[in-house]
Symmetry: C2
Subunit: 347 residues, 2 copies
Amino acid sequence: MTRDPQDPPRSLTLRDVSEASGVSEMTVSRVLRGRGEVAAQTRARVVEAARRLGYVPNRIAGGLASKRVNLVAVVVPSLGNLVFPDVLTAVGAGLEAAGLHPVVGVTGYDPAREERVLYEMLAWRPSGVILAGLEHSEAARAMLRAAGVPVVEIMDVDGEAVDSVVGISHRGAGRRMAEAILAADYRRIAFLGTTMPHDHRARKRMEGFEAALAEAGVRLAEREFYSGGSSLAKGREMTRAVLARRPDLDFLYYSNDVIGAGGLLDVLGRGLDVPGRLGLAGFNGLELIEGLPRRLASMDACRHAIGHEAAAIVAGGLAGRRVELAPVLDPGDTIRRAAGAQAASAS
Amino acid sequence: MTRDPQDPPRSLTLRDVSEASGVSEMTVSRVLRGRGEVAAQTRARVVEAARRLGYVPNRIAGGLASKRVNLVAVVVPSLGNLVFPDVLTAVGAGLEAAGLHPVVGVTGYDPAREERVLYEMLAWRPSGVILAGLEHSEAARAMLRAAGVPVVEIMDVDGEAVDSVVGISHRGAGRRMAEAILAADYRRIAFLGTTMPHDHRARKRMEGFEAALAEAGVRLAEREFYSGGSSLAKGREMTRAVLARRPDLDFLYYSNDVIGAGGLLDVLGRGLDVPGRLGLAGFNGLELIEGLPRRLASMDACRHAIGHEAAAIVAGGLAGRRVELAPVLDPGDTIRRAAGAQAASAS
DNA sequence: GTGAAAGCGCTAACAT
DNA sequence: ATGTTAGCGCTTTCAC
């Protein structure tokens, strides 16, 4: 049952195709890569031989010889977070036209792990790197600078980039949400989010949120943090906990739509008047929010556009770009409409 | 702003480290790979020089020379499907101990695309292949057989494998659900699922489901299909459509938990008695079902165990294994409890 | 414990 | 339009 390592399943080489077709290795190579002018008849013989043998080119050898590789490293914190699969899908679509392939690495929000993942990926000499966030270890930044290929940091623009950056301002997003909430006359406001020390984007949203409240003379009434992945159940639990401590709260701002949805289901189940007595908002603009009993207020993280732009930068071999996208606030059905909302949100 | 392709950002080589440390390339290589006996002092000099220079080994060259590569191709239909990120996470964890790294490919449930993705990945001569499903083009199967490395087809065991297989029987899963539903005395039953012609597992669940109903003399009263991704909103919409056509239905079996959850929210919102008047069930055992107003009946797809087992087979270099896992049916709160349920489900 | 030589399978750069 | 030559940066093998 165990494969004998001595058993040499030597895979086919260009030479095999060359011999089978009676065409030189070099010309076979040209045909298979679609480079250079090759007589139609010669080409046909080569293609036929390669197909018949089941030849699969060895990109390891090809990459070594040409110093070019059609791989792009894409590094994200997690795949459980809904947002990242979406970004990856957009990146993949964007790279495809350029004949590039994404290679995905996952860091688990751990900087040390990110460093290792980057090291592994750079060892394959990819044509570009796309990675989430602006916060990396010094060693990681050094590796990225030394890589000599386009590096695009995505999701977040609040910080200093190694090379290019594509994202939104999470501080600004938190701020905008605070303004909308204040404009709707909510005043006893809580933030519910993750304790993960390395979810910098959630942290920045909270910072922007608190700053905007402070400017209006409002203090955050409560905070509730959790660790681990997001789930509806976690959202329910946190919501119950925070409302038990402070039953007079009138707004709950969640760090993402999943826990926000859980909270919404929970308060609706208890018959609370939403958004009259209690308002809620999440973040990300996930599809999820559309099927809930009330449409949860949220803010689009622009994940599709981010993936698309990042792919374009890598595919174009560009350097030093900065693309800041403007997320749209969707008030849904969980922020009450108040007179003067527009005016106040422009403050 | 555009990188000059003529600009040679020649990355560091073993030779650079060799010169910087005054140790031969060969010994530097040994140190960096942790192979062979090297004097502690020599090792220290090498490590220091490599670190100082920021040397990242070139695995393209290494792979070519050694014919061994620490990459495992993992091919899944989609990342939007919640299930696959979970499987990938388990695969990654399982491979890690063996020093192997997953490289993810996405097919979009398209066999032609799967073939291209496999071709691309096999061109990198990975140490193993893990791919979802048993249905592949003949060319894809030929490539896999010729690869000369462990190939593990995952998720589904109903069919013929190229090499190893790890999964559950989806036909059996559909059958078991049908038995539980019948035992609970539901009789006017509908199936709601995807039209995607290539979601073979959903198809097999429906087949097993119908077969078990037929054996009990019950015909599927309705079916409703949709295309595109799953969402709560889609689940609501389908549920409304099917109940509009057949208001007397007493059970809805969904092909996954996401549309099932949408359906559940919809019928609860309309005040229907669940599970008395109407029962519901989904599939996958997603975390999602735990935060709903009622716990949706579901069946665990064993995605974590599948990822784990598949990784073990690749890491162990094993061939021809067959691992059939037993999914557990969780009746949740959406299948009514009926006398004789146990007896009937054993039929 | 360390080094020298050969070559992995391809492609760049020149021939022809 | 096609062939020849010389590596790409590493590891294998064997010598010391």
